[in-house]
């Protein structure tokens, strides 16, 4: 680990005032890991872990989740389990109990890719070092993305929580030198395009203070399905957060997002609209999955993800629709 100066922020205002050029540190499960392998080398680390941002409450028709709420606290919270079960399931499907106890919602929103080339200083990576090239393109691509990729980067987005938050239409609350603003979660993560090193739409010194998850009948039906190489404690090969509302056998409303396959959690409004008014059957869901995977560009080792993602989507939608036990 490279040397850095360490400061504790006593308040959100103080964190923002001295945040420019510093890395905000909360649970450390991602940042400290990446600092140890010298992928991230902040010169200044600002400890925000003691700020008063850990509350979770159901208020004004939404779950208001503080940025410092731990993954465990969110996943186990009664209101979350009742009002947005898919979010709880997504969190519990990620990492290990030890990591979930330390990891926070704010950190998870900014979780860095697990692309093996990003983590290996001996290889080229445009995300780690802008313009240096990408060794993943011709490398071992089994874990890489098939959607939202560019010829500069094919790194998959790693977070399970974010996939659920996409399907739940969450909003991210941030505060910075210019004040407070809300970012629709789909706009927080940037596609790699020509600049994979730019990952988030946050401005310098902007601090995530919380997440707002609108709660409605659809959110209460949300579920999360994750397919991986082993039963537990592995990143997704494909995952799906789905919420389907069925009335009289027909789909009234539906949303879903895919994980493990995109350079960011993947949501396709057209795929969701295609289910509207149709019978809540495997055929309807398969058609939506087909649309969601349009434009997928697999590489040598991850062609299987196209079919896997479709089936995972169907399974998630069926589960939420109550068509599976």
């Amino acid at each position: 680990m490279r040397l850095f100066t360490f400061q504790r922020a006593a308040s959100v205002d103080e964190a923002i005032a001295s945040g420019a050029g510093a890395a905000f540190l909360a649970g450390g499960t991602n940042l400290v890991d990446l600092m140890k392998i010298e992928v991230l080398n902040p010169e200044r680390v600002l400890d925000v872990s003691r700020l008063d941002l850990a509350k979770i409450e159901l208020r004004e028709g939404a779950l208001q989740i503080g940025a410092l709420a731990s993954n465990t606290a969110v996943a186990e919270h009664g209101d979350v389990r009742r009002a947005a079960p898919g979010l709880s399931e997504a969190l519990l499907s990620g990492a290990s109990p030890q990591l979930r106890n330390a990891a926070t919602v704010g950190g998870n929103l900014l979780q860095r890719t697990r692309c093996a080339y990003y983590r290996d200083l001996g290889t080229r990576c445009n995300k780690r070092e802008a313009g240096s090239g990408c060794d993943a393109l011709d490398g071992w691509t089994r874990m890489h993305a098939i959607l939202g990729v560019s010829d500069k980067c094919i790194a998959a987005h790693p977070s399970d929580m974010c996939v659920a938050l996409y399907a739940l239409d969450a909003t991210v609350r941030v505060r910075g030198p210019a004040g407070e603003r809300e970012i629709p979660i789909g706009e927080l993560h940037l596609l790699p395009g020509d600049h994979p090193e730019r990952e988030f739409s946050l401005q310098p010194a902007e601090l995530i203070t919380g997440v707002r998850v609108p709660i409605d009948a659809l959110a209460a039906r949300s579920r999360y399905v994750k397919v991986r190489d082993r039963q537990s404690y592995a990143f997704a090969l494909a995952s799906c957060a789905a919420a389907v509302q069925v009335e009289g056998g027909a789909v009234q409303a539906a949303r879903f997002a895919l994980g493990g396959v995109g350079t960011k959690p993947w949501r396709v409004p057209e795929a969701e609209r295609s289910m509207q008014g149709r019978p809540a059957t495997r055929e309807t869901f398969a058609r939506a999955a087909e649309i969601a995977l349009r434009g997928a560009t697999p590489r040598r080792d991850n062609a299987f993800k196209v079919e896997l993602a479709k089936r995972t989507a169907v399974r998630g939608l069926m589960l939420s629709a109550g068509a599976l036990s």
Partner: protein, 305 residues
């Protein structure tokens, strides 16, 4: 001055050491160059060459956080990644001992495939051991005056196994290293050192965490329980008893982490079946594959609780 594209040693000494002939002889056995820096000077010792003056290097000094201790030894690999970094309270004798140990390790390393990696690991182990030895025999350092560029030390007070411990730490120090190297509690094990294996699991403020990913600087006032803190009045913790009874380990390296994780699991709520035990213990890997017996041990304690 560029560092070479092969393994090398860096030594940062608060005062420029005198390098006697004995030292240079040890260096020849090492086969890796040594770059020795003091605040106003720098010398490189190749394997065969005479020492060469290269002048001071404030940038390297800063990067490696040197100056706080009398000696900071750094081992770099061929890509100049840090493989080992240790502070010692005394410079010349420690460096001589470290280089001698490292030289022996190099001579003893077998030839063949993978030798470079093996060499690096032997070097790191030998250097680490020599520096620890020097730290153990040295008197506590009272000369805390650091030269400029050294990292500011942070005062942190923790309660470890019920005892208040005050530490002066570098910002980089993680809880696992503080427990093992500053406090002498070697029960928490270093496996992957990147939050994947769970061997370093301890309980912090009632929650199990990977101590390898927790900066001590963030833990002011925290209450930490390690495997050493489980015995009460000479009695093993029921989970320790259960691990013994069920033969829930082979080599034992992951066991302290398994036991602390298992205790926390039962505190979090009673697992309803073996599947829930396995899921709840998924953050603790056992490469001997003692899983069936680990699950049996936990099931036993859960059943009696």
């Amino acid at each position: 001055m560029d560092l070479p594209n092969r393994p090398c040693l860096l030594a940062f000494c608060r005062r420029a050491p005198r390098f006697e002939e004995a030292f240079r002889a040890e260096l020849r056995a090492l086969g890796a160059p040594l770059f020795a820096f003091a605040p106003g000077s720098g010398t490189v010792f190749g394997a065969d060459d005479e020492p060469r003056d290269i002048g001071p290097h404030p940038e390297l000094w800063r990067i490696h956080g040197a100056g706080r201790a009398a000696l900071t030894v750094v081992l770099l690999d061929e890509k100049q990644r840090v493989r080992l970094r240790r502070d010692a309270p005394e410079a010349e004798g420690t460096l001589l001992a470290a280089v001698r140990e490292a030289g022996r390790a190099v001579c003893a390393a077998p030839r063949g495939i993978g030798r470079r990696e093996l060499l690096l690991n032997s070097l790191a182990a030998a250097l680490g051991a020599a520096v620890l030895q020097a730290c153990a025999s040295a008197r506590p350092v009272d000369d805390r005056k650091a030269v400029s560029g050294a990292p500011a030390l942070l005062e942190v007070s923790l309660v470890v196994n019920g005892q208040r411990r005050r530490l002066q730490v570098e910002p980089r120090l993680v809880l696992l290293d503080a427990l093992r190297e500053n406090l002498g509690l070697t029960g928490a094990k270093k496996g992957c050192d990147m939050g994947q294996c769970g061997a370093c699991t301890v309980i912090v403020d009632g929650q199990r965490v990977n101590s390898c990913l927790k900066l001590v600087a963030q833990l002011e006032g925290a209450r930490v329980t390690t495997i050493e803190g489980l015995v009460q009045g000479g009695q093993l913790h029921p989970m320790q008893e259960a691990f013994l009874r069920e033969d829930a380990f082979q080599c034992g390296y992951c066991t302290p982490g398994q036991i602390l994780s298992a205790i926390a699991l039962l505190q979090e709520g009673k697992p309803r079946d073996d599947d829930e035990i396995r899921e709840g213990m998924s953050g603790n890997l056992c490469r001997c594959g003692a899983y069936p017996n680990i699950v049996a041990a936990i099931r036993g304690v859960a059943g009696r609780a």
